[in-house]
Symmetry: C2
Subunit: 233 residues, 2 copies
């Protein structure tokens, strides 16, 4: 089956968590808005029984699935990138939902008032929020994942193999490095397992090929992870 | 099996979505921090293989499950409050995750800068965020759920019976009424299906008994839904 992924073509955003899993799975997919033919018209399609609130959206045969963690649960199970037993599946989903929560907080560092306003119209608030985010929230989330890897044997987040939350954690760490290089240089010193997992994932053949390809959109100031030096530590 | 729910004892918060589903299911559960004996010590328990990042946490036999949508997926499936086929299960989860996104935005109307600060230390930002939330975001989310009910036949969000996202939507609407009575009086006029679903759920025998009991913590200014007249329309 050839999947169709619908996501904004100019940014990594939430779509990147799906792209990474599709790439590591070696799945056949079309990144519709980037490859032409339909764009994002799926968002206004009134014939869809289960309408998406927002992208990313994955078409898998007759299924139309939205919400990042939901899509990843579906793909992970189908492509051997999720634990097989019930406790493991629930744990992988739990981790992914915590990553989703973290991602909202990362986004809101530069848009604490509204996504509909320009960054330039909320810089003061963004500085205030970012300072507390880097002091309190980023360490709390990152230490949580470091500890979760430790309890799970030191190499992965769930079970003995790579699963989709590992790929998502890779993306979170890569994005934080882009957005907050000074803060991350300091935070990383206390995250040996997270850093090791990030490095190992970046060297996996399919992930490495993807990251070196044009399919990987560079980080930029339209995405969720944005580098504004005035918001960094 | 007797469940154990761990959540802050003074507020409805995210725990309320779990409580409503447990009550409608007629499940045997202990609201641990409210009924004494252990409080919230589970959050620091280093023996848990799959540690929670934050409450709510549900103990179900040997399983320890966190993240609201994850717990609800588990409970919904076990207690006949979730669709039975794969497409329906994914849709219920997708709806619940959209409700989770909405809830974060509702919370951030009064805490746009940081949860660690008092409301009084971010009133200016809260006013700015709330104004745009009530103008743009609340109508967008609520119209989405209105439309989702319409596409699903007009009575429920998923399938032909009550499911856990219906109960969560009930809680969202009840909370918004408490927090933003003026704005909701206006918004509701265009949400006939959402209002009808809310009314019908409030009359279900188990839900009605729960809402009239002392188990239902009143809305208050420590929870996610907070009534500050200066933030309302």
């Amino acid at each position: 089956m050839r999947y169709e992924l619908y996501y904004w073509p100019e940014i990594q955003g939430r779509g990147e968590f799906i792209r990474l899993t599709l790439e590591e799975a070696g799945a056949d997919y079309r990144d519709v808005a980037r490859q032409g033919g339909g764009g994002m018209s799926i968002l206004g399609d009134k014939t869809i029984l289960h309408p998406p609130f927002a992208p990313p959206v994955l078409k898998a045969g007759r299924l139309v699935i939205a919400q990042t963690a939901n899509i990843l649960m579906y793909l992970g199970t189908r492509h051997g990138l999720a634990p097989k037993n019930e406790a493991g599946k629930l744990w992988a989903n739990q981790l992914q939902l915590t990553i989703s929560d973290f991602l909202v907080e990362i986004h809101d560092t530069h848009h604490p008032i509204a996504s509909s306003l320009y960054y330039e119209d909320q810089i003061g608030e963004a500085k205030r929020r970012s300072k507390l985010f880097l002091k309190e929230r980023a360490p709390k989330f990152l230490n949580y994942f470091e500890n979760a890897i430790a309890r799970n044997g030191g190499k992965h987040l769930a079970g003995s193999k790579l699963t989709y939350p590992d790929l998502s954690l890779f993306q979170i760490v890569a994005g934080l490095h882009y957005a907050f290089p000074r803060a991350m240089a300091s935070l990383e010193k206390k995250l040996p397992r997270v850093v090791k997992l990030r490095d190992e994932i970046s060297k996996r053949p399919r992930v490495a090929a993807y990251l070196a390809s044009k399919r990987r959109i560079p980080f930029n100031r339209s995405g969720i992870f944005r580098h504004y030096p005035e918001l960094d530590a």
